[in-house]
Symmetry: C2
Subunit: 230 residues, 2 copies
């Protein structure tokens, strides 16, 4: 079956955090009609999905899929298993932290690929960056490049010459630059949520890697994080 | 976190059909302790999961995960959408048939990778073959090779040198050879189920590509398919 092509649409992976929300607005700024894909994967910080909904609405997403995919069955991460989220950890360590979720981005990209191919579009956006990040191997450019090769060999579209492009517009940006870019693009940062280990009332903990990388970015940009007052 | 290594285990993708069941027994014959992964993905032929359970039990699988992952949300295939399953189609056509599920094997392999990494094992088995098959791009060797490169770059284990191996022991076998191999390995073929479009009572239709490839394999091997009497 040759599916109807839809070259103006792109699938954007959207967690509801600072990076993926900015990435969504980058897709819009590049004149794509965005489809968004989020995952209800049993994450400790499921609260992020509410942010994803709000940001998707702001960006005029025409189809937002929140896919249930229970990664707690596999576990093996502080985000999906009974392992404590590290607090006040040095952000300069080389080791992969326990918040790494085995295979998460390859699963997310594969599902984005299925979504994109089913809707006849060839563009996928992911908000990975490898500058101020937690040291996850599945955020690096080499991984994304290898993935797109597999994607083009293992899909009908790719094997028929309608190749996929994976856009990672934040890949070489620091957190400071991402904050600035988000402000330029008009992302309502008060609606985004980055914490791995929210309190019972749903507030950011302020001490996990993700909170601290975010705080560092806002501080470097000289901007108050509007989510802190939300 | 350095996860406990479990080098004697392997994750086997198991649909419950002839090929994946034979593949599971190949893993056992290669002295791996099998973990099995099946998907409840909204497939029209969900009946195959009962076969997967029976075959996993026969093979002494120590952990069998049946992961719910609703691919009907994306659709785009006769197996997951409101598209008729072709009957009595020529099996020699080059075109990718409408039973192709966008991104299915890359999603399944990615989840197998997550399962394997979480359990500390480095071996994954998949029953793809590209001789007597339906023409799916995600069953070809080039795709599997590209996937494993991405997997090794995008996981903690791979990036720390504990590389994954993806075994596709059926990749160069004809259906006839697969039937013979299954019999040699002691797979109870009466328990396997290959049909894409079962009748309401759960019998194989006999006319979809999968039924006809299976029938051709048994005929070529000179063996009566025991599932037909089951």
């Amino acid at each position: 079956m040759t599916r109807d092509m839809n070259p103006s649409s792109a699938v954007v992976l959207l967690s509801g955090g600072l990076d993926s929300s900015t990435c969504l607005f980058e897709a819009v700024a590049s004149d794509f009609e965005p489809l968004a894909l989020s995952f209800d994967y049993g994450q400790r910080h499921r609260r992020e999905l509410e942010s994803a909904r709000l940001i998707a609405a702001d960006a005029g997403v025409k189809e937002h899929v929140i896919l249930p995919l229970d990664l707690t069955i596999f576990g093996g991460s502080a985000l999906t298993d009974d392992i404590e989220v590290p607090k006040d950890r040095s952000l300069d360590e080389d080791e992969v932290p326990v918040t790494y979720v085995p295979g998460r981005n390859i699963i997310f990209l594969s599902c984005a690929l299925s979504f994109a191919e089913s809707r006849g579009c060839s563009d996928i956006f992911i908000g990975v960056n490898a500058i101020d990040y937690s040291g996850y191997p599945d955020c690096r450019g080499e991984f994304i490049e290898a993935f797109v090769k597999a994607a083009n060999l293992g899909t009908q579209a790719g094997s028929e010459g309608r190749e996929f492009t994976i856009h990672a517009p934040l890949k070489s940006l620091s957190k400071k630059q991402i904050v600035n870019r988000a402000l330029t693009l008009g992302v309502d940062l008060a609606k985004t949520f980055s914490c791995y280990d929210p309190t019972e009332s749903g507030s950011a903990c302020g001490r996990c890697d993700s909170c601290r990388l975010r705080a560092r970015g806002f501080a470097a940009a000289g901007v108050v994080d509007p989510a802190l007052d939300a």
